[in-house]
Amino acid sequence: MSTTIVRNARAGTTEPTWVRWTLIGLALGFVFLFLLLPLAAVFTEALRKGLPAALEALHEPDAWSAIRLTLITAAVAVPLNLVFGVAAAWAVAKYEFKGKAFLTTLIDLPFSVSPVVAGLIYVLMFGAQGWIGPWLAEHDIKIVFAVPGIILATVFVTFPFIARELIPLMQAQGTDEEQAAIVLGATGWQTFWHVTLPNIKWGLVYGVILCNARAMGEFGAVSVVSGHIRGQTNTLPLHVEILYNEYQSVAAFAVASLLALLALLTLLIKSVVEWQFERDQKAAAALPPERPTT
Protein backbone atom coordinates (compact mmCIF):
# COMPACT_ATOMS: atom_id res chain seq x y z
CA MET A 1 0.00 0.00 0.00
CA SER A 2 2.75 2.42 0.94
CA THR A 3 4.50 1.82 -2.39
CA THR A 4 1.49 3.02 -4.38
CA ILE A 5 1.31 6.19 -2.33
CA VAL A 6 4.99 6.81 -2.85
CA ARG A 7 4.68 6.14 -6.56
CA ASN A 8 1.74 8.53 -6.89
CA ALA A 9 3.59 11.21 -4.99
CA ARG A 10 6.62 10.69 -7.21
CA ALA A 11 4.54 11.13 -10.31
CA GLY A 12 3.33 14.43 -8.88
CA THR A 13 6.77 15.80 -8.18
CA THR A 14 8.56 15.07 -11.40
CA GLU A 15 7.97 15.58 -15.09
CA PRO A 16 7.07 13.09 -17.82
CA THR A 17 10.11 11.29 -19.22
CA TRP A 18 10.12 13.18 -22.52
CA VAL A 19 10.08 16.55 -20.74
CA ARG A 20 12.91 15.40 -18.49
CA TRP A 21 15.10 14.32 -21.35
CA THR A 22 14.33 17.43 -23.40
CA LEU A 23 15.40 19.63 -20.50
CA ILE A 24 18.52 17.55 -19.88
CA GLY A 25 19.32 17.73 -23.61
CA LEU A 26 18.88 21.50 -23.68
CA ALA A 27 21.07 21.93 -20.61
CA LEU A 28 23.78 19.67 -22.01
CA GLY A 29 23.66 21.48 -25.34
CA PHE A 30 24.06 24.79 -23.57
CA VAL A 31 27.00 23.53 -21.50
CA PHE A 32 28.60 22.11 -24.63
CA LEU A 33 28.23 25.35 -26.63
CA PHE A 34 29.08 27.85 -23.93
CA LEU A 35 31.57 26.00 -21.72
CA LEU A 36 33.10 22.95 -23.38
CA LEU A 37 33.62 24.41 -26.83
CA PRO A 38 35.51 27.53 -25.64
CA LEU A 39 37.64 25.34 -23.39
CA ALA A 40 38.42 22.93 -26.21
CA ALA A 41 39.18 25.83 -28.57
CA VAL A 42 41.98 27.06 -26.28
CA PHE A 43 43.86 23.76 -26.48
CA THR A 44 43.13 23.13 -30.15
CA GLU A 45 44.35 26.57 -31.20
CA ALA A 46 47.49 26.09 -29.09
CA LEU A 47 48.24 22.75 -30.77
CA ARG A 48 47.44 23.95 -34.28
CA LYS A 49 51.10 23.75 -35.29
CA GLY A 50 51.89 20.79 -33.08
CA LEU A 51 53.08 20.37 -29.54
CA PRO A 52 56.70 21.55 -30.12
CA ALA A 53 55.53 24.95 -31.41
CA ALA A 54 53.27 25.36 -28.40
CA LEU A 55 56.00 24.38 -25.95
CA GLU A 56 58.40 26.75 -27.66
CA ALA A 57 56.11 29.67 -26.82
CA LEU A 58 56.34 28.69 -23.17
CA HIS A 59 60.15 28.58 -23.27
CA GLU A 60 60.47 32.22 -24.32
CA PRO A 61 62.21 34.38 -21.71
CA ASP A 62 59.23 36.77 -21.72
CA ALA A 63 56.85 33.91 -21.02
CA TRP A 64 59.09 32.74 -18.17
CA SER A 65 59.18 36.16 -16.59
CA ALA A 66 55.37 36.38 -16.94
CA ILE A 67 55.01 33.01 -15.21
CA ARG A 68 57.37 34.14 -12.45
CA LEU A 69 55.53 37.42 -11.91
CA THR A 70 52.14 35.67 -11.83
CA LEU A 71 53.42 33.21 -9.22
CA ILE A 72 54.96 35.99 -7.10
CA THR A 73 51.74 38.02 -7.27
CA ALA A 74 49.59 35.11 -6.16
CA ALA A 75 52.12 34.12 -3.49
CA VAL A 76 51.81 37.56 -1.90
CA ALA A 77 48.14 38.36 -2.54
CA VAL A 78 46.61 35.06 -1.41
CA PRO A 79 48.28 34.88 2.05
CA LEU A 80 47.47 38.55 2.72
CA ASN A 81 43.81 37.97 1.95
CA LEU A 82 43.88 34.69 3.87
CA VAL A 83 44.95 36.41 7.09
CA PHE A 84 42.40 39.14 6.50
CA GLY A 85 39.66 36.61 5.68
CA VAL A 86 40.19 34.67 8.90
CA ALA A 87 40.35 37.83 11.01
CA ALA A 88 37.27 39.34 9.39
CA ALA A 89 35.28 36.10 9.66
CA TRP A 90 36.23 35.74 13.34
CA ALA A 91 35.16 39.31 14.09
CA VAL A 92 31.92 39.13 12.11
CA ALA A 93 30.86 35.58 13.03
CA LYS A 94 31.82 35.37 16.68
CA TYR A 95 30.67 38.72 18.04
CA GLU A 96 27.75 41.10 17.87
CA PHE A 97 28.53 44.75 17.25
CA LYS A 98 26.97 47.81 15.69
CA GLY A 99 27.50 48.32 11.98
CA LYS A 100 28.20 44.66 11.29
CA ALA A 101 25.91 44.53 8.23
CA PHE A 102 27.60 47.65 6.86
CA LEU A 103 31.02 46.11 7.44
CA THR A 104 30.11 42.96 5.49
CA THR A 105 28.79 45.13 2.66
CA LEU A 106 32.11 46.98 2.55
CA ILE A 107 34.00 43.68 2.52
CA ASP A 108 31.94 42.67 -0.53
CA LEU A 109 32.52 45.98 -2.29
CA PRO A 110 35.58 44.92 -4.37
CA PHE A 111 33.43 42.20 -5.99
CA SER A 112 31.18 44.75 -7.62
CA VAL A 113 33.81 47.35 -8.53
CA SER A 114 34.89 47.07 -12.15
CA PRO A 115 38.46 45.74 -12.39
CA VAL A 116 39.37 48.76 -14.50
CA VAL A 117 38.21 51.11 -11.74
CA ALA A 118 40.18 49.00 -9.24
CA GLY A 119 43.34 49.56 -11.25
CA LEU A 120 42.60 53.25 -11.68
CA ILE A 121 42.31 53.98 -7.95
CA TYR A 122 45.90 52.81 -7.40
CA VAL A 123 47.11 54.91 -10.31
CA LEU A 124 45.41 57.91 -8.68
CA MET A 125 47.01 57.10 -5.32
CA PHE A 126 50.54 56.24 -6.35
CA GLY A 127 50.87 57.59 -9.91
CA ALA A 128 52.98 60.61 -10.85
CA GLN A 129 50.03 62.99 -10.40
CA GLY A 130 48.53 61.08 -7.51
CA TRP A 131 48.27 61.70 -3.78
CA ILE A 132 51.63 60.38 -2.69
CA GLY A 133 53.13 59.96 -6.15
CA PRO A 134 55.52 62.95 -5.87
CA TRP A 135 56.77 61.79 -2.47
CA LEU A 136 57.33 58.28 -3.84
CA ALA A 137 59.21 59.69 -6.84
CA GLU A 138 61.49 61.69 -4.50
CA HIS A 139 62.37 58.56 -2.60
CA ASP A 140 62.74 56.55 -5.78
CA ILE A 141 59.97 54.08 -4.90
CA LYS A 142 58.00 52.73 -7.83
CA ILE A 143 54.58 51.28 -7.13
CA VAL A 144 52.43 51.91 -10.18
CA PHE A 145 53.74 50.48 -13.47
CA ALA A 146 55.83 48.13 -11.34
CA VAL A 147 55.40 44.90 -9.40
CA PRO A 148 54.01 46.41 -6.15
CA GLY A 149 51.15 48.01 -8.09
CA ILE A 150 50.31 44.71 -9.75
CA ILE A 151 50.24 42.99 -6.37
CA LEU A 152 48.08 45.75 -4.83
CA ALA A 153 45.56 45.64 -7.68
CA THR A 154 45.42 41.85 -7.38
CA VAL A 155 44.91 42.06 -3.62
CA PHE A 156 42.00 44.44 -4.25
CA VAL A 157 40.15 42.27 -6.76
CA THR A 158 40.64 39.10 -4.67
CA PHE A 159 39.96 40.90 -1.38
CA PRO A 160 36.57 39.34 -0.43
CA PHE A 161 37.09 35.74 -1.64
CA ILE A 162 38.25 34.05 1.58
CA ALA A 163 36.26 36.24 3.97
CA ARG A 164 33.09 35.57 1.91
CA GLU A 165 33.61 31.81 2.19
CA LEU A 166 34.40 31.80 5.92
CA ILE A 167 31.82 34.26 7.32
CA PRO A 168 28.67 32.17 6.62
CA LEU A 169 30.48 28.96 7.58
CA MET A 170 31.65 30.32 10.95
CA GLN A 171 28.28 31.95 11.59
CA ALA A 172 26.55 28.60 11.07
CA GLN A 173 28.94 26.91 13.47
CA GLY A 174 28.29 29.40 16.26
CA THR A 175 30.51 29.88 19.30
CA ASP A 176 29.60 26.92 21.55
CA GLU A 177 32.70 24.86 20.87
CA GLU A 178 35.07 27.82 21.25
CA GLN A 179 33.39 28.85 24.50
CA ALA A 180 33.74 25.33 25.84
CA ALA A 181 37.44 25.35 24.97
CA ILE A 182 37.99 28.71 26.70
CA VAL A 183 36.07 27.61 29.79
CA LEU A 184 38.22 24.47 29.93
CA GLY A 185 41.28 26.69 30.08
CA ALA A 186 42.55 26.92 26.49
CA THR A 187 44.14 30.15 25.35
CA GLY A 188 42.71 32.09 22.42
CA TRP A 189 45.30 30.75 19.99
CA GLN A 190 44.88 27.17 21.20
CA THR A 191 41.15 27.52 20.72
CA PHE A 192 41.67 28.82 17.19
CA TRP A 193 44.19 26.15 16.14
CA HIS A 194 42.54 23.14 17.73
CA VAL A 195 38.83 23.98 17.65
CA THR A 196 38.03 26.59 15.00
CA LEU A 197 40.56 25.70 12.32
CA PRO A 198 39.58 22.01 11.98
CA ASN A 199 35.96 23.14 11.65
CA ILE A 200 36.62 25.62 8.87
CA LYS A 201 39.40 23.82 7.00
CA TRP A 202 37.36 22.97 3.91
CA GLY A 203 35.93 26.47 3.65
CA LEU A 204 39.45 27.78 3.97
CA VAL A 205 40.82 25.57 1.20
CA TYR A 206 37.84 26.46 -0.99
CA GLY A 207 38.36 30.19 -0.51
CA VAL A 208 42.11 29.95 -1.09
CA ILE A 209 41.62 27.98 -4.32
CA LEU A 210 39.16 30.49 -5.77
CA CYS A 211 41.23 33.44 -4.56
CA ASN A 212 44.31 31.95 -6.19
CA ALA A 213 42.55 31.34 -9.50
CA ARG A 214 41.40 34.95 -9.65
CA ALA A 215 44.79 36.28 -8.50
CA MET A 216 46.60 34.40 -11.27
CA GLY A 217 44.02 35.23 -13.92
CA GLU A 218 43.17 38.87 -13.20
CA PHE A 219 43.40 40.98 -16.33
CA GLY A 220 41.60 44.33 -16.19
CA ALA A 221 42.92 45.74 -12.92
CA VAL A 222 46.45 44.49 -13.55
CA SER A 223 46.39 45.83 -17.09
CA VAL A 224 45.76 49.38 -15.81
CA VAL A 225 48.61 49.40 -13.28
CA SER A 226 51.16 47.30 -15.12
CA GLY A 227 52.45 49.68 -17.78
CA HIS A 228 52.98 46.64 -20.03
CA ILE A 229 56.76 46.47 -19.85
CA ARG A 230 57.69 43.20 -21.53
CA GLY A 231 59.75 40.89 -19.41
CA GLN A 232 59.21 43.07 -16.32
CA THR A 233 55.61 43.89 -15.53
CA ASN A 234 53.74 41.37 -17.61
CA THR A 235 51.67 38.71 -15.90
CA LEU A 236 50.48 35.65 -17.82
CA PRO A 237 47.09 37.12 -18.86
CA LEU A 238 48.80 40.30 -20.06
CA HIS A 239 51.34 38.22 -21.95
CA VAL A 240 48.45 36.43 -23.68
CA GLU A 241 47.05 39.78 -24.76
CA ILE A 242 50.36 41.01 -26.18
CA LEU A 243 50.97 37.82 -28.15
CA TYR A 244 47.40 37.84 -29.42
CA ASN A 245 47.59 41.44 -30.57
CA GLU A 246 50.85 40.64 -32.37
CA TYR A 247 48.99 37.92 -34.27
CA GLN A 248 51.12 35.21 -32.66
CA SER A 249 48.03 33.09 -32.30
CA VAL A 250 49.69 29.78 -31.48
CA ALA A 251 51.91 31.34 -28.82
CA ALA A 252 48.99 33.28 -27.33
CA PHE A 253 46.86 30.15 -27.07
CA ALA A 254 49.80 28.12 -25.75
CA VAL A 255 50.16 30.53 -22.83
CA ALA A 256 46.37 30.66 -22.53
CA SER A 257 46.20 26.87 -22.26
CA LEU A 258 48.56 27.06 -19.31
CA LEU A 259 45.97 29.30 -17.65
CA ALA A 260 43.15 27.00 -18.78
CA LEU A 261 44.94 24.04 -17.17
CA LEU A 262 45.16 26.07 -13.99
CA ALA A 263 41.41 26.69 -14.21
CA LEU A 264 40.73 22.97 -14.67
CA LEU A 265 42.96 22.14 -11.71
CA THR A 266 41.08 24.74 -9.65
CA LEU A 267 37.74 23.15 -10.57
CA LEU A 268 39.07 19.69 -9.72
CA ILE A 269 40.36 20.72 -6.27
CA LYS A 270 37.15 22.63 -5.67
CA SER A 271 34.98 19.60 -6.44
CA VAL A 272 37.13 17.33 -4.26
CA VAL A 273 36.83 19.83 -1.40
CA GLU A 274 33.05 19.93 -1.83
CA TRP A 275 32.81 16.14 -1.73
CA GLN A 276 35.05 16.00 1.34
CA PHE A 277 32.96 18.64 3.05
CA GLU A 278 29.73 16.74 2.33
CA ARG A 279 31.32 13.52 3.60
CA ASP A 280 32.39 15.23 6.83
CA GLN A 281 28.92 16.67 7.31
CA LYS A 282 27.30 13.28 6.78
CA ALA A 283 29.76 11.71 9.24
CA ALA A 284 28.92 14.41 11.78
CA ALA A 285 25.19 13.87 11.25
CA ALA A 286 25.64 10.15 11.86
CA LEU A 287 27.16 10.77 15.31
CA PRO A 288 25.04 10.11 18.41
CA PRO A 289 22.62 12.97 19.09
CA GLU A 290 24.11 13.96 22.45
CA ARG A 291 27.06 15.47 20.59
CA PRO A 292 26.08 18.79 19.01
CA THR A 293 26.97 18.63 15.35
CA THR A 294 27.00 22.27 14.42
Binding site: G12, T105, L106, D108, V117, L120, P237, L259, K270, S271
Partner: protein, 280 residues
Protein backbone atom coordinates in the same frame (compact mmCIF):
# COMPACT_ATOMS: atom_id res chain seq x y z
CA UNK B 1 18.34 38.73 24.69
CA UNK B 2 21.34 40.98 25.22
CA UNK B 3 22.90 39.07 28.10
CA UNK B 4 24.09 36.04 26.10
CA UNK B 5 25.64 38.36 23.54
CA UNK B 6 27.56 40.17 26.23
CA UNK B 7 28.69 36.89 27.70
CA UNK B 8 29.99 35.85 24.26
CA UNK B 9 32.05 38.96 24.00
CA UNK B 10 33.58 38.42 27.39
CA UNK B 11 34.34 34.72 26.94
CA UNK B 12 35.92 34.63 23.46
CA UNK B 13 39.14 36.61 23.13
CA UNK B 14 40.34 38.42 20.05
CA UNK B 15 37.52 40.86 19.36
CA UNK B 16 39.72 43.96 19.39
CA UNK B 17 42.51 42.25 17.47
CA UNK B 18 40.39 40.80 14.67
CA UNK B 19 38.03 43.74 14.24
CA UNK B 20 40.93 46.17 14.46
CA UNK B 21 42.91 44.31 11.83
CA UNK B 22 39.82 43.95 9.60
CA UNK B 23 39.17 47.69 9.69
CA UNK B 24 42.86 48.54 9.19
CA UNK B 25 43.27 46.25 6.17
CA UNK B 26 39.90 47.27 4.71
CA UNK B 27 40.87 50.93 4.95
CA UNK B 28 44.33 50.38 3.52
CA UNK B 29 43.31 48.28 0.51
CA UNK B 30 39.78 49.45 -0.27
CA UNK B 31 38.57 52.57 1.48
CA UNK B 32 41.55 54.92 1.19
CA UNK B 33 42.22 54.13 -2.50
CA UNK B 34 38.50 54.51 -3.29
CA UNK B 35 38.43 57.83 -1.49
CA UNK B 36 41.37 58.90 -3.67
CA UNK B 37 39.02 58.46 -6.61
CA UNK B 38 36.28 60.57 -5.02
CA UNK B 39 38.80 63.17 -3.87
CA UNK B 40 40.13 63.51 -7.40
CA UNK B 41 36.57 63.84 -8.74
CA UNK B 42 35.84 66.68 -6.30
CA UNK B 43 38.77 68.66 -7.71
CA UNK B 44 36.95 68.85 -11.07
CA UNK B 45 34.50 71.62 -11.77
CA UNK B 46 30.91 70.60 -12.45
CA UNK B 47 31.31 71.52 -16.15
CA UNK B 48 34.47 69.42 -16.50
CA UNK B 49 32.79 66.49 -14.80
CA UNK B 50 29.71 66.79 -16.98
CA UNK B 51 31.62 66.96 -20.28
CA UNK B 52 33.60 63.91 -19.23
CA UNK B 53 30.66 61.72 -18.20
CA UNK B 54 28.00 62.89 -20.66
CA UNK B 55 29.75 63.23 -24.00
CA UNK B 56 27.95 61.37 -26.80
CA UNK B 57 30.68 58.73 -27.01
CA UNK B 58 30.49 58.02 -23.27
CA UNK B 59 26.69 58.01 -23.30
CA UNK B 60 26.75 55.47 -26.14
CA UNK B 61 29.07 53.32 -24.04
CA UNK B 62 26.67 53.37 -21.05
CA UNK B 63 23.80 52.32 -23.30
CA UNK B 64 25.88 49.50 -24.72
CA UNK B 65 27.32 48.35 -21.38
CA UNK B 66 23.99 48.32 -19.55
CA UNK B 67 22.01 47.00 -22.51
CA UNK B 68 24.39 44.13 -23.20
CA UNK B 69 24.72 43.32 -19.49
CA UNK B 70 20.94 43.29 -19.13
CA UNK B 71 20.51 40.96 -22.10
CA UNK B 72 23.27 38.65 -20.86
CA UNK B 73 21.88 38.52 -17.32
CA UNK B 74 18.36 37.93 -18.63
CA UNK B 75 19.57 35.10 -20.84
CA UNK B 76 21.33 33.61 -17.84
CA UNK B 77 18.15 33.71 -15.77
CA UNK B 78 16.63 31.17 -18.16
CA UNK B 79 19.79 29.18 -18.88
CA UNK B 80 20.78 29.26 -15.21
CA UNK B 81 17.36 28.10 -14.03
CA UNK B 82 17.42 25.30 -16.59
CA UNK B 83 20.88 24.16 -15.49
CA UNK B 84 20.10 24.42 -11.78
CA UNK B 85 16.84 22.51 -12.30
CA UNK B 86 18.47 19.72 -14.28
CA UNK B 87 21.37 19.44 -11.83
CA UNK B 88 19.14 19.27 -8.75
CA UNK B 89 16.16 17.28 -9.96
CA UNK B 90 17.40 14.79 -12.55
CA UNK B 91 19.99 12.06 -12.70
CA UNK B 92 22.05 11.58 -15.84
CA UNK B 93 25.55 10.39 -16.70
CA UNK B 94 28.27 13.02 -16.30
CA UNK B 95 26.21 15.10 -13.92
CA UNK B 96 29.07 15.69 -11.47
CA UNK B 97 31.34 16.87 -14.27
CA UNK B 98 28.71 19.29 -15.58
CA UNK B 99 28.17 20.57 -12.06
CA UNK B 100 31.89 21.24 -11.67
CA UNK B 101 32.13 22.81 -15.15
CA UNK B 102 29.50 25.42 -14.31
CA UNK B 103 32.18 27.26 -12.32
CA UNK B 104 34.56 27.36 -15.28
CA UNK B 105 33.84 31.06 -16.00
CA UNK B 106 34.93 31.88 -12.42
CA UNK B 107 38.13 29.89 -12.74
CA UNK B 108 39.13 30.70 -16.32
CA UNK B 109 40.97 34.03 -16.69
CA UNK B 110 38.77 36.46 -18.60
CA UNK B 111 41.42 37.19 -21.21
CA UNK B 112 41.54 33.48 -22.05
CA UNK B 113 37.75 33.39 -22.35
CA UNK B 114 37.89 36.44 -24.61
CA UNK B 115 40.40 35.09 -27.12
CA UNK B 116 38.85 31.64 -27.12
CA UNK B 117 35.31 32.91 -27.81
CA UNK B 118 36.74 35.14 -30.53
CA UNK B 119 38.54 32.19 -32.08
CA UNK B 120 35.26 30.22 -32.11
CA UNK B 121 33.05 32.93 -33.54
CA UNK B 122 35.34 34.79 -35.95
CA UNK B 123 34.77 34.20 -39.66
CA UNK B 124 37.34 31.40 -39.81
CA UNK B 125 36.44 29.86 -36.44
CA UNK B 126 34.76 26.55 -35.64
CA UNK B 127 31.32 28.12 -35.38
CA UNK B 128 31.91 31.32 -37.32
CA UNK B 129 32.67 29.50 -40.57
CA UNK B 130 29.13 28.07 -40.59
CA UNK B 131 27.33 31.09 -39.17
CA UNK B 132 28.92 33.79 -41.29
CA UNK B 133 27.68 32.48 -44.67
CA UNK B 134 24.18 32.49 -43.16
CA UNK B 135 24.61 36.18 -42.41
CA UNK B 136 25.00 35.71 -38.66
CA UNK B 137 27.99 37.60 -37.36
CA UNK B 138 28.72 37.01 -33.70
CA UNK B 139 32.24 38.40 -33.32
CA UNK B 140 33.61 41.95 -33.50
CA UNK B 141 30.23 43.55 -32.87
CA UNK B 142 27.62 43.91 -30.14
CA UNK B 143 26.55 40.27 -30.42
CA UNK B 144 30.04 39.26 -29.40
CA UNK B 145 29.84 41.48 -26.31
CA UNK B 146 26.60 39.85 -25.19
CA UNK B 147 28.03 36.36 -25.73
CA UNK B 148 31.19 37.16 -23.74
CA UNK B 149 29.05 38.61 -20.93
CA UNK B 150 26.80 35.53 -20.93
CA UNK B 151 29.91 33.40 -20.50
CA UNK B 152 31.45 35.32 -17.61
CA UNK B 153 28.18 35.77 -15.66
CA UNK B 154 26.87 32.23 -16.27
CA UNK B 155 27.55 30.72 -12.81
CA UNK B 156 25.72 33.35 -10.75
CA UNK B 157 22.10 32.32 -11.39
CA UNK B 158 22.91 28.60 -11.26
CA UNK B 159 24.71 28.94 -7.94
CA UNK B 160 22.03 31.09 -6.30
CA UNK B 161 19.07 28.97 -7.44
CA UNK B 162 20.67 25.55 -6.88
CA UNK B 163 20.69 25.58 -3.04
CA UNK B 164 17.12 26.91 -2.90
CA UNK B 165 15.90 24.12 -5.18
CA UNK B 166 17.78 21.57 -3.08
CA UNK B 167 16.08 22.81 0.09
CA UNK B 168 12.64 23.09 -1.48
CA UNK B 169 10.11 20.92 0.32
CA UNK B 170 8.77 18.22 -1.95
CA UNK B 171 5.75 17.90 0.37
CA UNK B 172 4.42 21.19 -0.95
CA UNK B 173 4.57 19.91 -4.52
CA UNK B 174 2.97 16.64 -3.47
CA UNK B 175 0.21 18.58 -1.76
CA UNK B 176 -0.32 20.67 -4.89
CA UNK B 177 -0.55 17.53 -7.01
CA UNK B 178 -2.96 15.89 -4.57
CA UNK B 179 -5.13 19.00 -4.74
CA UNK B 180 -5.34 18.52 -8.49
CA UNK B 181 -2.72 20.91 -9.83
CA UNK B 182 -1.04 20.02 -13.11
CA UNK B 183 2.73 19.81 -13.11
CA UNK B 184 2.92 23.19 -14.84
CA UNK B 185 0.57 24.78 -12.31
CA UNK B 186 2.68 23.34 -9.49
CA UNK B 187 5.74 24.92 -11.03
CA UNK B 188 4.04 28.23 -11.66
CA UNK B 189 2.35 28.62 -8.26
CA UNK B 190 4.45 26.53 -5.85
CA UNK B 191 8.01 26.20 -7.09
CA UNK B 192 8.46 29.48 -8.93
CA UNK B 193 7.47 31.76 -6.01
CA UNK B 194 9.96 29.98 -3.75
CA UNK B 195 12.87 30.40 -6.17
CA UNK B 196 11.94 33.88 -7.45
CA UNK B 197 14.04 35.79 -4.89
CA UNK B 198 17.06 33.61 -5.71
CA UNK B 199 16.52 34.13 -9.44
CA UNK B 200 16.36 37.88 -8.96
CA UNK B 201 19.49 37.86 -6.76
CA UNK B 202 21.33 35.82 -9.37
CA UNK B 203 20.18 38.21 -12.08
CA UNK B 204 21.41 41.24 -10.13
CA UNK B 205 24.78 39.59 -9.41
CA UNK B 206 25.24 38.58 -13.04
CA UNK B 207 24.28 42.08 -14.16
CA UNK B 208 26.68 43.75 -11.70
CA UNK B 209 29.53 41.50 -12.80
CA UNK B 210 28.79 42.05 -16.50
CA UNK B 211 28.69 45.85 -16.17
CA UNK B 212 32.26 45.99 -14.91
CA UNK B 213 33.69 43.29 -17.17
CA UNK B 214 36.65 44.23 -19.32
CA UNK B 215 39.03 41.36 -20.10
CA UNK B 216 36.80 39.04 -22.07
CA UNK B 217 34.89 41.75 -23.92
CA UNK B 218 37.70 43.76 -25.48
CA UNK B 219 38.90 40.85 -27.60
CA UNK B 220 35.53 40.07 -29.13
CA UNK B 221 33.92 43.51 -29.25
CA UNK B 222 35.70 45.14 -32.17
CA UNK B 223 35.82 48.25 -29.94
CA UNK B 224 34.39 50.76 -32.41
CA UNK B 225 33.66 54.14 -30.81
CA UNK B 226 29.89 54.85 -30.53
CA UNK B 227 29.11 51.28 -31.65
CA UNK B 228 30.88 48.61 -29.65
CA UNK B 229 32.95 50.43 -27.06
CA UNK B 230 32.13 49.50 -23.44
CA UNK B 231 32.48 51.95 -20.56
CA UNK B 232 35.52 50.30 -18.89
CA UNK B 233 37.30 50.64 -22.24
CA UNK B 234 36.45 54.36 -22.28
CA UNK B 235 38.25 54.68 -18.94
CA UNK B 236 41.29 52.86 -20.33
CA UNK B 237 41.23 55.04 -23.45
CA UNK B 238 41.19 58.24 -21.40
CA UNK B 239 44.04 56.94 -19.24
CA UNK B 240 46.13 56.16 -22.29
CA UNK B 241 45.69 59.76 -23.41
CA UNK B 242 46.73 60.92 -19.89
CA UNK B 243 43.23 62.35 -19.37
CA UNK B 244 43.22 61.38 -15.68
CA UNK B 245 40.40 63.78 -14.85
CA UNK B 246 38.11 62.32 -17.50
CA UNK B 247 38.96 58.74 -16.55
CA UNK B 248 38.28 59.54 -12.91
CA UNK B 249 34.93 61.14 -13.67
CA UNK B 250 33.68 58.15 -15.69
CA UNK B 251 35.08 55.76 -13.05
CA UNK B 252 33.16 57.62 -10.36
CA UNK B 253 29.92 57.14 -12.27
CA UNK B 254 30.68 53.43 -12.61
CA UNK B 255 31.60 53.16 -8.94
CA UNK B 256 28.33 54.84 -7.93
CA UNK B 257 26.40 52.36 -10.06
CA UNK B 258 28.32 49.39 -8.63
CA UNK B 259 27.63 50.57 -5.11
CA UNK B 260 23.91 50.92 -5.85
CA UNK B 261 23.83 47.44 -7.38
CA UNK B 262 25.59 46.08 -4.30
CA UNK B 263 22.91 47.59 -2.05
CA UNK B 264 20.19 46.11 -4.27
CA UNK B 265 21.83 42.68 -4.11
CA UNK B 266 22.12 42.92 -0.31
CA UNK B 267 18.45 43.86 -0.02
CA UNK B 268 17.48 40.97 -2.32
CA UNK B 269 19.56 38.53 -0.30
CA UNK B 270 18.01 39.54 3.00
CA UNK B 271 14.57 39.25 1.39
CA UNK B 272 15.53 35.78 0.23
CA UNK B 273 16.74 34.82 3.72
CA UNK B 274 13.53 36.15 5.30
CA UNK B 275 11.51 34.12 2.80
CA UNK B 276 13.48 30.98 3.56
CA UNK B 277 13.34 31.65 7.29
CA UNK B 278 9.62 32.38 7.34
CA UNK B 279 8.76 29.13 5.60
CA UNK B 280 10.37 26.67 7.98
Amino acid sequence: MTSPKRATRRVLPGFNLTLGYTLFYLSLIVLIPLSALLFKTFTLTWAEFWTAVASPRVLASYRLTFGASFLAALFNVFAGLLLAWVLVRYEFPGKKIIDALVDLPFALPTAVAGISLTALLAGNGWLGQYLEPMGIQLAFNRNGIVIALIFISLPFVVRTVQPVLEDAEKELEEAATCLGASRFQTFRYVIFPSIAPALLTGFAMAFARAVGEYGSVIFIAGNMPMVSEITPLIIIGKLEQYDYAGATAVATVMLGISFMLLLVINALQSWQRRRAGGKS
